[in-house]
């Protein structure tokens, strides 16, 4: 037990990136990035493709050299260290298992390079941890995608790195297997206590597994914090759209009553808690998550502590089993999204129905109206460019 706990303490140490910049030509893939990952964390770098998250990871691994800035682990500078001298291991996107070696030798590769004795026992233990005990003599090509993924994990973990880097490790798996591996990865991370830095573009994956998420966009971190914090209090329109969906309505701040900011959105008075407001004067985006909104038949009574938008017309209804997704056209032309649980409490609305939108003021957030309302909105980007992002 004591052996286990000391190992856990030694297993990691803070990873810090200080004003790290990486330029390819004139393009800054990573722009003056500051980041601290505490030891033992499951940390996710989340962002769309091309946001610089993989470049950041490769700089930590030593496969890419920063143009400027400093990277340290446990206080020691590793910025210019060769990859094979760093206390860091990587689970690569397509696993990069060695096709000419069997599973045991793949997993033993790192230990053998460091001249470790008693490799066999450690390899067996590690294969047991990832539940591949009987697969040691097979070749990577004889394993399924999920099994290969676990071999890649075992091959990296066996070296007990201070930081384990995971580059979209579940990207190649189908949805069901991905869910299963998310739980598995989280279990293993808790068990070994090593710092995991996980790069992904899948917001659900990041939220399921990570203690801390950093949302990256165009080479900078937009916001960093625990998943619930990011989801409930997005700092930018990019975060509000990239992490889940948001309704953003343009409004003017008109007053402040104690802890509440009051705004005017096309004639509707709405309130938001001051601590959820990124901007407290001038023009703002009033934000609310679609599942926080309730629909009511038109001319409904206003509720205490609730915001109310009247005169919506249901323009689209899609039934998705557990919930129904409504699009509601507002008098000013904007379409808002509402998710409603199919609890059976009332008949679903049909297209053309006149409805009111209610939601708690406590669920409202305010963002800077200077920011692009569509930033980070993947479906919108797809619509505009015609290509999946």
């Amino acid at each position: 037990m004591s052996d286990e706990s000391t190992r856990r303490v030694d297993a990691g140490a803070d990873l810090t990136l200080t004003s790290v910049t990486k330029r390819f030509g004139t393009f800054a893939a990573v722009d003056d990035l500051d980041l601290v990952v505490e030891q033992g964390r499951f940390f996710a770098l989340l962002g769309p493709s091309g946001c610089g998250k993989t470049t950041t990871l490769r700089m930590v691994a030593g496969l890419e050299e920063p143009t400027s800035g400093i990277i340290t682990i446990g206080g020691s500078d590793i910025t210019r260290l060769k990859p094979y001298k760093r206390p860091v291991n990587t689970v690569f996107q397509n696993y990069a298992l060695f096709p000419h070696l069997d599973i045991e030798e793949n997993v033993a590769f790192g230990l053998r390079r460091r001249g470790v004795k008693d490799v066999k026992k450690q390899v067996d233990d590690m294969l047991e941890l990832v539940e591949l005990g009987s697969f040691g003599k097979r070749r990577p090509a004889q394993l399924s995608g999920g099994q290969q993924q676990r071999v890649a994990l075992a091959r990296a973990l066996i070296n007990r790195p201070r930081v384990l880097l995971l580059d979209e490790p579940l990207g190649a798996l189908d949805l069901k297997l991905r869910r299963q591996m998310q739980i598995e990865l989280k279990r293993i991370q808790t068990e070994v206590g090593i710092t995991f830095v996980h790069v992904t573009h899948d917001q659900e994956e990041a939220m399921t597994m990570a203690d801390t998420i950093a949302v990256m966009n165009k080479g900078v971190i937009e916001q960093m914090g625990p998943p619930t914090e990011l989801y409930d209090r997005p700092a930018t329109t990019f975060v509000s759209n990239f992490l889940g969906q948001s309704n953003l309505v343009r409004a003017e701040v008109i007053a402040r009553h104690g802890d509440e900011i009051v705004v005017d959105a096309s004639g509707n008075k709405l309130g938001a808690p001051a601590d959820r407001a990124r901007r407290t004067q001038g023009t703002v985006w009033v934000g609310v998550r679609p599942e926080k909104v309730f629909l009511a038949t038109a001319e409904s009574e206003p509720q205490d502590g609730s915001n109310l938008l009247r005169s919506g017309v249901v323009s689209d209804v899609s039934f998705i089993g557990v919930s129904t997704q409504y699009l509601v056209r507002m008098p000013w032309g904007q379409e808002l999204t509402v998710f409603e649980q199919n609890s059976g409490a009332r008949e679903p609305f049909t297209v053309g129905a006149n409805v009111d939108l209610h939601w708690l003021r406590a669920h409202t957030f305010l963002l800077d109206a200077q920011q692009d309302v569509h930033a980070g909105d993947q479906t919108y980007a797809e619509l505009v460019t015609g290509a999946p992002v």
Partner: protein
């Protein structure tokens, strides 16, 4: 339904047919003829005709009379193959990984010698290695070669010629297998504590083995049977088994012994290739 399936399963055989007929006519029949000739009575001649006497003694005669050229062939071919591998591997590696936009141009340059005839190229080496050529005079000035030393008409010239002539056959398969290697595997190796050299030894080299095997076979097999290089760059003292067979068939008109030599060469090469491929153990990589 079953008729359609049968027709589909037969399509493959129909596609094989032209090639099989060609091989039957120009490979199987001559090989059997060659085998038969090797067992003819040595006392026959083209004019009087040969009698089939199942003279296995022909093989003993061939081996005892021509042991030296046999061994020389294997030695020269092995040397040329090793040299070609040492020259071709760095070249193929550079083309595959370091050439960038020059890749295609470099590949064309590797193939470019094929635009001129094999004979002309070998004759060119004759003048390169000639006694008053710059190579010999440079080597003499550097005291690597004695003042009266020469390259032409020595085994050095023959092996040089063999190496040169078969180099592209080494470069191309090596390039093809190196080029296929996923660079992320090398990154993974470096991530797992392998320095540049270890990553090469443990990852790049084993993964390029199919190319090494194909290249060495494509070089060794024709080199072992070659007779042009000795003829143009060497002397009878460097005679390889190809020269012996050439001489027996076309000058001495001793068909049975010539055929026996050919069969021995063929069998030796096939056996060596079998052992080599088995030892290299690359089945699961190809």
């Amino acid at each position: 339904m079953s008729g359609a399936r049968r027709r589909r399963s037969l399509t493959g055989y129909y596609l094989l047919l032209p090639g099989m007929l060609w091989l039957l006519l120009f490979f199987a029949v001559p090989t059997i003829q060659l085998g038969a000739t090797s067992l003819y009575d040595q006392n026959g001649s083209l004019d009087t005709g040969y009698a089939m006497t199942w003279s296995f003694g022909n093989y003993i005669d061939a081996l005892s009379d021509y042991r030296a050229p046999f061994l020389r062939s294997l030695l020269y071919a092995t040397s040329a193959t090793v040299l070609a591998l040492l020259l071709a591997y760095p070249l193929a590696y550079a083309i595959a990984f370091k050439a960038g936009r020059w890749k295609n141009l470099m590949l064309v340059l590797v193939i470019a010698p094929f635009f001129t005839s094999f004979l002309v190229r070998t004759l060119a080496w004759k003048s390169i290695l000639s006694d008053n050529g710059f190579v010999v005079s440079t080597l003499q000035a550097l005291h690597i070669l004695a003042p009266d030393g020469r390259l032409l008409a020595t085994c050095v010239a023959v092996i040089t010629g063999l190496t040169y002539n078969f180099l592209p056959f080494m470069v191309l398969p090596l390039y093809a297998s190196l080029e296929k290697i996923d660079l992320r595997l090398i990154e993974a190796g470096k991530d797992l504590y392998a320095n540049g050299f270890t990553a090469f030894r443990k990852i790049t080299l084993p993964l390029s083995m199919p190319g090494v095997v194909a290249g060495t076979l494509l070089t060794f097999i024709p080199a072992a049977g070659d007779y042009i290089n000795t003829k143009l760059l060497g002397t009878p003292a460097q005679n390889m088994i190809g020269n012996v067979i050439d001489n027996l068939f076309l000058v001495q008109l001793n068909y049975p012994i010539a055929a026996a030599c050919s069969v021995i060469l063929m069998v030796v090469i096939v056996l060596m290739v079998l052992v080599y491929v088995r030892r290299a153990g690359t089945e699961e990589l190809v």
